[in-house]
Subunit: 339 residues, 2 copies
Amino acid sequence: MNIGEIARRAGVSRSTVSYALSGKRPVAAATRRRIQDVIDELGYRPNATARALKEGRTRTIGLVIPPAGNRLSHMQLDFVAAVVDAAARVDLDVLLSPSGGDHDRSFERLVSEGRVDGVIVMEIRLHDTRVDRLRQAGLPFVGIGHTADERAMCWIDVDYARLIGHSVRHLADLGHRKVALISRSKELVASGYGPALRAREGFTAAIAERGVRGVEVTCGDDARSGQESIEELLRAHPDLTAVTTINEAALPGIQRALADAGLAVPSDFSVTGVAARLWAEDFRPPLTAADVPALEMGEQAVSLLVQRIAEPGTPPRHILLAPPISLRSSTGAAPAVRG
Amino acid sequence: MNIGEIARRAGVSRSTVSYALSGKRPVAAATRRRIQDVIDELGYRPNATARALKEGRTRTIGLVIPPAGNRLSHMQLDFVAAVVDAAARVDLDVLLSPSGGDHDRSFERLVSEGRVDGVIVMEIRLHDTRVDRLRQAGLPFVGIGHTADERAMCWIDVDYARLIGHSVRHLADLGHRKVALISRSKELVASGYGPALRAREGFTAAIAERGVRGVEVTCGDDARSGQESIEELLRAHPDLTAVTTINEAALPGIQRALADAGLAVPSDFSVTGVAARLWAEDFRPPLTAADVPALEMGEQAVSLLVQRIAEPGTPPRHILLAPPISLRSSTGAAPAVRG
DNA sequence: TTGTATGCGTTATCAA
DNA sequence: TTGATAACGCATACAA
């Protein structure tokens, strides 16, 4: 069933049906009614493909997610859900593309076949071939995270340097003299993953500022790795009394390893970091942490993209979020003695 | 840039370019080369929208996920990832639709605007209006879970009755005399959520068969609810020594509440259930559970849908999975005394 | 071996 | 107030 069928049954031309639907041209009340009756009866909806071809836009955005191999973290998941929800609210559909490498057919379809009006890219690297490709294709896009040339693209990101700096100072103020940063996986850091590098910056600066000792370790994005990281840290650094992390997925392992070592949080050992709120609250005891507002970020990313699609020429906007650290129960005064 | 531009630059007609691309008509080697050179130079890819309009299919499938309000469980997440991955492997794109209620614009777009060739629907209810709508629209679809009239649709599902039955018998064999089933949320159960109802069936049958006592409770899909469920169960049933569950998201809470109550797993208390494998392995101690093969299910769902799209007339196929229970460390002999 | 012409379903311009 | 028609970019039947 198509617009011609509706027109035939209502005894009008196709253009009149189209105008009755869009309201872009006045249609006599009686005619409009007749058309609407037929439409209601048949349950007609204009074909999205034909409309997209004619209008030159698809009313669809692409969301490029990390490939399924590495399972998504809660934060990433929340972000996907937020994007999909925010897009639905403005009647945009979301096309998902699991994409990591360069020779990715799904991603390539997205950017070069005109399937979407714009793209949101997650997990941006400092030098990201996907960004290069999108720029070359002239497709509007928004990054979650940004490349080395900050000003050249539109992005929304979390200020990891500042947040990790905050958390280190918080720990130092509580009397901790040696603090570890549990970062993301070795591969990710090596490939130039911005958040990890900026977390290191913030860590190093705060360590120096407060004159405490610091040790940074990489850690896979899973509980097991978190557990191993803590075990190794405790072994190598008997005087360690606190960790801060940007590795959300490692938290359950961190929790376990500390329990196994007989260390109570926060009386024997403090834990803090950057994590999605629900995740922080699920920690035991509830995690003192900067709550990454994934839902808000998703919403803002969609909003930025919609603007960018509407006015591709304007200078790219950036949003750098630095949510406050919520004091919960996982940090406390440094223990007098340990080890 | 379009096919006409390529044709012009290569000095051939548009149809020749089209045939050179599709290979559906022989093209002289020299001509083909000339065309390919132009295509490579300009990076041309046929417009997906125009192709879809012409061919009458979009090479896109829809994935209807639960609305973002209730955050997705790991199992659901794994499933989404699996579907997206499996679809990408056969060059299908995936359009995401967060959809719960009936008045859902996103879902309505999916079914009535010809945006997709077929749909995969998650979290099917025994009486599901979305299924009715899809059937009415004549759009091929595959359900994860099935409606009351099993034979009327194409689905893939987990045999919760059998799996929960297994786990109860396993517990009974270990000497447990009173077992609780921790189900999904009250609302979900009330709305006729198949897995919860079938889990109940299996539970009731196995309880009766082995002559043990059973108690069933509903529980929200989050850690806090899991914790509360255990606390209440322990209070109301001091003789309870084991639980089985289909509520994956409640597991961390179950774990905590037991630890808080000073109950060691499995020496004091046994826990078992149905969960995604990685989730089960993350439990502490590793969970004796039926591992829901979410990745495999996603792959199979895509495969079923592709078949269904190709041959809409064939009788609907069903796949009922009953993965074996993996013995890990969370179940053991019933304690001699408790309470 | 290649070119011409038509139509997919829509929107929008031009004409009445 | 409405209708006829062109065009979006492509694939393909038909012609040469």
